[in-house]
């Protein structure tokens, strides 16, 4: 697809959003005929950041806790970075393989400009390999195996301004692995007053995270479980660095929400829910929203059923019992657990059905019924 028709499609999609409120379009690479469109040859050749040169043209990447040691002609675990004669290169700078204009609720971010949309982008690659990944066909492939379009930060800014899209979301695969593109885009589009939200697994080293926190507006972390073993077996990562990253994000004062995908039999015990909630309460704050979302079988985990609603409701109950103020249920449209409820008066402040806002009784960031301040970024 040529860039002009791509932008035209984007225009059409944005038009739909203006009318329908939740329609969106996705352009996403597929492995089938992966190379048929001729623009895969244009992977980027931009020097990566946060790496160290070692002897014999070897490098060590310090972007995420994997800290891959990579020889010439090889790539790190994420597949999006390649050592070329001792220089580490990002292959996905300005190379997007997925684009949606999404409701912000789809991220999900429930305390961030409710009812608005986010220009949502991704590149190929990921630094973990979750067996339940919904987006595996872009996250678990190499960038040359998907259809890439070149899109600069300036073009993203121009589109957002033209279509009055208030936010850009870096999402779907894992924005940590397209860090340079994300960071530069954040800096560029902020100049136009556009907000930036990062949807991540939080598997990132402290230094790049702190640099990112200087410039972004909000981060949603997918905390996949509260068990190291689960991270090892199901995620191919580690829990501790993710918890550390969440703490750093919270301490920075940037808006934080947490998603916990509840997978039947694997991370759905009452004890694990309770341990997670206690940790949020003691290490973060009872005001940090946590979304318990429903799992659907896919990718390498097709042998388990979708999460029963009652399991999610149990998680919600435990979160409330532990004193968390904003626990939610996700991926169950119509469930009352989607609503933001005032922890003071118990009234629904923001009502939701799926990604749509059905009620908004928030006045200047406060509960319209009792005046209690509700934390978030509301305007």
């Amino acid at each position: 697809m040529k860039r002009r028709s791509f932008i035209q499609r984007l225009g059409a999609a944005t038009g739909l959003i203006c009318v329908g409120g939740s329609a969106y379009e996705m352009i996403c690479g597929s492995l089938e005929n992966a190379y048929a469109f001729g623009y895969v040859e244009t992977l980027s050749d931009i020097e990566a950041r946060h790496y160290e040169k070692l002897p014999d043209d070897v490098i060590q990447c310090h972007l995420c806790p994997r800290e891959c040691i990579v020889s010439d002609v090889e790539r790190g675990f994420c597949g999006a970075r390649e050592n070329r004669k001792g220089y580490y290169k990002t292959l996905v700078y300005n190379r997007i393989c997925a684009l949606n204009i999404d409701p912000i609720e789809k991220k999900p971010l429930f305390h961030f400009l409710p009812g608005t949309t986010a220009f949502s982008i991704a590149t190929a690659g990921c630094n973990v390999n979750c067996k339940f990944c919904q987006n595996w066909n872009i996250s678990q492939v190499r960038p040359e195996q998907v259809q890439n379009l070149e899109l600069t930060s300036g073009e993203i800014a121009a589109e957002c301004v033209k279509k009055s899209i208030p936010t850009v979301a870096y999402t779907y695969s894992e924005p940590v692995i397209f860090y340079e593109y994300m960071y530069d885009t954040v800096v560029r589009i902020s100049k136009d007053g556009i907000r930036n939200v990062v949807i991540t697994g939080g598997y990132i080293k402290e230094k790049p995270l702190r640099e990112l926190l200087e410039v972004v507006d909000a981060i949603k972390v997918d905390l996949k479980s509260f068990s190291e073993q689960y991270y090892k077996d199901i995620v191919n990562g580690e829990l501790k660095p993710v918890l550390d990253a969440i703490k750093i994000i919270h301490e920075s004062g940037k808006w934080l929400e947490i998603v916990y995908l509840v997978v039947p039999t694997l991370n759905d015990s009452d004890d694990e829910f309770r341990a997670l909630c206690k940790w949020i309460k003691t290490e973060l704050s009872v005001d940090v929203p946590v979304h318990f979302t429903r799992f659907h079988p896919t990718y390498l985990m097709t042998n388990l059923p979708p999460t029963p609603t009652k399991t999610l409701e149990k998680a919600l109950e435990i979160a409330h019992a532990e004193g968390l103020h904003y626990p939610y249920i996700g991926n169950v449209p119509g469930n009352s657990g989607e609503n933001t409820v005032c922890p003071n008066c118990g009234e629904t402040v923001i009502g939701r059905f799926g990604f749509q806002i059905t009620k908004n009784n928030l006045i200047d960031g406060k509960c319209g019924s009792c005046g209690r301040s509700i934390p978030g970024i509301w305007k």
């Binding site: 492995l31 089938e32 005929n33 992966a34 190379y35 048929a36 895969v40 014999d56 043209d57 070897v58 891959c68 040691i69 020889s71 010439d72 002609v73 090889e74 790539r75 790190g76 675990f77 994420c78 597949g79 050592n83 004669k85 390999n129 678990q140 492939v141 190499r142 040359e144 195996q145 191919n236 390498l300």
Partner: protein, 301 residues
């Protein structure tokens, strides 16, 4: 592979060979024929090539082209083998030289040909090729497999080049099949163990393998898998086997010999022991233990 019996690994050397054997097709063919003969207790090589030609369908030949022209499988050697098979009445269009990408093939000196006539040569990134739709699983590996292996080829001839590998220790026959899968970068942790073994245990790989011809016209004992001139050597050899574990076990020994001569620590001491060899042996993919390998070394003109 019956790992209970001994595995034969044959090394054929020719001092007349220069570099990658440019313009020395006859020498390379002679080495290949001597090797295949020794693998079959001295039988007439023409008869063996004829059997190969008769009993196989479409054959995929997999060179290793990761490191560019200087340290990739020699096109001369690859075409010399093709010539022998064609002389034994294999149809040229039933021979497919393949890699992950066309770019890698070209950089290694192969001429691309995705047409229906002649020896075919193309990467998985060729239009209408790509990867299959179903995941192939073995142990810790779950991957999509190139359609070249999944459906284009009935049999595989593995044609690696012997190199040091910074994580796997040895890049030889078994590591060469990382090109079969769509997500090789996911399988480098823990010195590629057990992933190298798991990939080679995929039925689509294991059941199709008929021969390994390891290019040792040049080799590299350190700094791999990319090319580093200071660690490159020219053993003037090829090595042949049907046992991928045994040929890589011999490969490890050869790399370690070069390392020792050049005052470098052995692979195990350099934090990259090819542990996957033992894993592969335990999985019954072949023999890694020296006492189970019948290593034959000969010199030809």
């Amino acid at each position: 592979m019956d790992s209970k019996s001994k595995s034969k690994v044959v090394l054929v050397r020719s001092r007349s060979l220069r570099g990658a054997g440019d313009g020395q097709s006859d020498i390379l063919k002679n080495m290949l024929s001597r090797g295949i003969s020794l693998m079959h207790d001295g039988s007439d090589p023409n008869m063996i090539w004829a059997q190969f030609a008769k009993n196989t369908g479409r054959i995929g030949l997999k060179p290793n082209c990761v490191a560019g022209r200087n340290m990739s499988t020699s096109p001369n050697l690859t075409y010399a083998l093709c010539d022998l098979l064609i002389a034994a009445e294999k149809r040229d269009r039933d021979l497919i030289i393949w890699e992950r990408t066309n770019r890698e093939l070209k950089k290694a000196g192969f001429g691309l040909n995705a047409a229906r006539a002649g020896i075919r040569c193309f990467g998985t990134d060729t239009r209408d090729v790509g990867y299959g739709k179903e995941f192939h699983k073995s142990g810790k590996v779950a991957s999509l497999v190139t359609r070249i292996v999944e459906s284009e080829c009935d049999h595989l001839i593995n044609m690696p080049i012997l190199k040091d590998h910074s994580l796997a220790g040895v890049s030889g026959a078994m590591k060469n099949y990382y090109a079969v899968i769509h997500n090789p970068n996911k399988y480098h942790d823990n010195n590629c163990d057990p992933y190298v073994a798991d990939i080679n245990a995929l039925p689509v790989v294991k059941d199709k393998g008929i021969l390994i011809v390891m290019d040792m016209t040049r080799a590299q004992y350190n700094g791999g898998p990319g090319y580093m001139a200071s660690y490159a050597v020219a053993p003037h050899s090829i090595m042949m086997s049907v046992d991928p574990v045994a040929i890589d076990a011999v490969g490890e020994r050869i790399i370690n010999d070069y390392r020792s001569k050049n005052n470098l620590p052995a692979l195990a001491d350099a934090k990259r022991p090819p542990k996957w060899l033992t894993t592969a042996e335990k999985m019954g993919l072949g023999n890694a233990s020296p006492e189970r390998i019948d290593f034959i070394e000969v010199e030809v003109e």
